[in-house]
Amino acid sequence: MTKIGLEIHCQLTKLKSKLFCSCKADYRGFEPNINICPICVGLPGSLPLLNKKAVEKAAMIAMRLGCKVPPKIGFFRKNYFYPDLPKNFQITQYNVHGPTSIGSEGQILIEDKMIRISRIQIEEDPGRLIYEGDPSKSLTTFVDYNRSGTPLVEIVTEPDFTTPKQVRTFVNILSDLLDNLGVSDTSLEGALRVDANVSIDKGEKVEIKNIGSFRNLEKAIHFELIRQESLAERGMPIPSETRQWDEGRKITISARTKEEEQDYRYFPESDVPHVLIKDQLLEKLKENMPESIISKRERYVEKYGIPNQVAEVLSTDKFYSDLFEKAHNENNAKEIANLITTDLMGLADTKEKRDQLKLKPQHLSDLADAILNNKITRISAKTAIHEIAKTGKPLSEITSELDLGRVDDESSLLNIIDEVFAEEKQAVEDAKQNIETVNYLVGKVMKKTKGKANPSVTLEIIKKKLK
């Protein structure tokens, strides 16, 4: 049987400071080696000072993933040499001598399949190596310690996945969950990194590292399964090893066999005393935890009558569900949900576009009210959203500037309908024979009015004229 398990590293990007010092945790876009101090570069004599906020955020993740949170957590040293690791050990958590990591034995439901979470641990990110051009040819390696000490949680699943597709779905759901929880902005490059353990019946476990994106994750696992199956078919052994995903060639290549595997010599990090996780703290965190995606979706459907599919799309996206919550006043909730999912989401689908979005919750509220009060048509609303997104001008201004006000006085509509009847003689005849074709004429009127015509009044007049 195919078994796939994941090791997911998620940076707690919503934290301001690093895991063991007060340096800025954000390393993106900074000049190298400026957000550093004696602690995060491991100067002799420096000592780690635990960021309690990181423990709280990690505890929230653990609870949301249904994990047990122990009454006391501890830290361990994972010893290995690498130039980006200033102390040549990483401070992390470890459960072999009894559970001391922030979470264990959780589970999460993915499309009717329960995926078990074996553990969640808090750890520090190493620095970054920067090469001149192609890493394999670069003569100089630079080290940037700005990232060193950035708070991470590692989430380890049981090998419960059987297809690459399930993995993709899981990772999408997990990243939405982490975003929604307000612990991480997983859209940032490097904020969510996934390694996969893949094995088939006749082989040992193979770990795939260095997978850059979710799309490549699915591809890498897919490739690896085919590779392993073809080995098995030929009766060849599948040894336990670590393989790297080669982005360019879209294949996995052997990095090291398990015999060469490092012995990390884990032992307790006594410079970071055990932290007691009191029930009161967990209660407090639970109270302040953002509502879960599932509960949001249910509320959207039950309370506001939003269709299930719309609620699903809206609840999984923190950016838009936050916007929704700020904009609606219950009465216009359904209309706002529609506006967001049908008109707005396509407009701003990347982080950059979202950041540039000028639209404010008030705009959506005004727009929904205008639709509900028949002041603007759905079609005009779409035009208005485009304009608001770009300019951020108030709806009233945009309505008059673009002349989007709804036309529903009969005399003006009558003139336009007369024009259409003159131009579309055949269609008029058709409609007289078969009233079902009348929508064609309504559409022509809408086109002439640039979508401003009141559709129901238009239909009535046309029907009257056809008689």
Binding site: P38, V41, G42, L43, P44, G45, S46, L47, P48, L49, L50, R77, N79, F81, Y82, P83, P86, K87, N88, F89, H97, V143, D263, R265, Y266, F267, P268, S270, D271, V272, P273
Partner: protein, 481 residues
């Protein structure tokens, strides 16, 4: 003007104006110049000390506020970080390391206007008990320069003993303050774990070691503890000990106190003079009204093995950062794979450091972790339990500080196990997180013998009172140098 004054006497003299800070500091620097070629207590002497002394004199003259140390020259073991002054750990790997920050103990001393007169010699990274394992060569015992000063804080002990500074700070992982204190006839304290901040102490075995003061009187030890003890936001392992004044009530005596004589630390395998001296101390304490009884802490027999297992394990990890990338540059060959690159600089560690790092790497390896490291942790927790139980019965424990008198340079340098065994009486305090002090007690054949007193967790005040009472009965000569 005498250099052999205590901190208290020094402060009186400065306040009275009988001597200026500059006079005292320059006299101290002269003394260092005169004797340190023979003793080699210092790795670095602070060039700026005299300027700092002058500035303090100006402040004193202008009746400005000056901190409690009043410019007292203090020497610092060279594994404690001092901003702007090299911190070498007596290792080739850190020969040019200048910390960009002060250890917490240093900033507290500076806030009280102490003057750092220099950085003292030690066994490389504090691993050793003779100060012979220094990449700068050994320190010699001021009582007889053919003899070792003890270690690893041998430079600090020698500097205090030879009046090259009034007091000093050392670090004690398994006896590294008390052992040289005993060999050089000064007082040396290993405080309760967590009482003194380790921020800025270059880690060797971080779950075990503490910075500790060394001085020529108990009162000076207490005075220093008033400055350096206490919780520190830069060290999460420090504990809140409340506001204790260690100098107050030093003189209350020990009448009625119960003192346990640790059977496992007496007699067997011990030098005869040392045992005699300890028996002598015990009867003196009884004369003062203390009630002494034999007490057994059986795990002491496993303490040295447990101690070396744990400290080596921690050392192998703590010293991993000296990897030729940022420390210990050795650029020899061009074109390299990084493992080879890292290993190139690591041959620059001294033999003793390499030995302990190999040992530590071994005991942490998968397959051996349970057999060695975990077992050593079990011994440690048994020792803690037995020590706690002992302190339910008695107020203090007593033993010789070191089972031997000072010995000659080179005499034991190639006998690792003989050296390790010298730690047998001291490591218990480290493994049990309790305070212990070495009290200079006798000088036999021109060589000092120290007595060790232990007290329960955070019972430093009681410990000082007992040490003070014992020391009042001794009339010891000054070191001959």
């Amino acid at each position: 003007m005498r250099l052999s004054v205590s901190a208290t006497e020094y402060r009186d003299q400065i306040r009275n104006g009988t001597v200026t800070v500059e006079e005292f500091v320059s006299k101290t620097l002269e003394k260092i110049k005169k004797v340190d070629e023979q003793i080699h207590a210092f790795i670095t002497v602070n060039d700026d000390a005299i300027n700092q002394a002058r500035n303090l004199d100006k402040k004193l003259k202008a009746k400005e506020k000056v901190g409690a140390c009043l410019g007292m020259p203090i020497s610092i073991k060279d594994n404690i970080c001092t901003k702007g002054i090299k911190t070498t750990c007596a290792s080739k790997l850190l020969q040019d390391f200048v910390a960009p920050y002060d250890a917490t103990v240093i900033s507290r001393l500076k806030a009280e206007d102490a003057i750092i007169i220099g950085k003292t010699n030690l066994d490389e990274f504090a691993m050793g008990l003779t100060t012979e394992f220094s990449c700068y060569g050994p320190t010699k015992n001021p009582w007889n320069i053919d003899y070792v000063p003890g270690g690893s804080s041998g430079g600090s002990a020698a500097a205090v003993s030879a009046c090259e500074s009034i007091v000093s700070l050392g670090s004690d992982t398994g006896g590294s303050v008390r052992n040289p204190a005993s060999f050089c006839s000064v007082f040396g304290l290993k405080p309760t774990y967590g009482l003194v901040s380790r921020y800025g102490l270059v880690s060797y075995a971080n779950s075990i070691e503490q910075i500790g003061p060394m001085a020529r009187t108990v009162e000076d030890i207490a005075f220093l503890m008033n400055i350096i003890a206490g919780q520190d936001p830069n060290d999460n392992t420090t504990i809140d000990s409340g506001a204790v004044d260690y100098v107050d009530d030093l003189d209350v005596g020990i009448s009625g106190k119960k003192i346990g004589v640790v059977s496992e630390m007496m007699g067997e395998g011990e030098q005869k003079e040392v045992t005699e001296s300890t028996r002598n101390a015990i009867s003196k304490l009884e004369e003062l009204g203390a009630d002494c009884e034999e007490i057994s802490i059986s795990e002491v027999l496993h303490s040295v093995a447990a101690y070396y297992t744990l400290t080596a394990a921690e050392a192998s990890s703590n010293l991993a950062r000296y990897d030729n990338i940022r420390y210990g540059y050795d650029f020899g060959v061009e074109g390299f794979e990084f493992n080879a690159y890292i290993s190139r600089s690591r041959k620059n560690f001294g033999d003793e450091v390499i030995r302990r790092m190999l040992l530590g790497t071994y005991v942490l390896s998968s397959g051996y972790f349970g057999k060695y490291y975990m077992k050593a942790q079990q011994v440690r927790s048994l020792i803690k339990t037995q020590v706690e139980r002992a302190f339910q019965k008695v107020d203090l424990l007593i033993s010789p500080t070191v089972p031997s008198m000072p010995f000659k340079l080179g005499e034991k340098i190639n006998d690792e196990l003989a050296l390790f065994r010298l730690d047998v009486n001291t490591v218990t305090a480290n493994l049990a997180n309790i305070p212990a002090i070495s009290v200079p007690f006798e000088v036999k054949n021109g060589l000092p013998i120290g007595i060790q007193l232990f007290a329960g967790h955070l019972q430093e005040k009681l410990l000082f009172q007992a040490a003070h009472a014992l020391s009042k009965l001794t009339k010891l000569p000054e070191s001959p140098i």
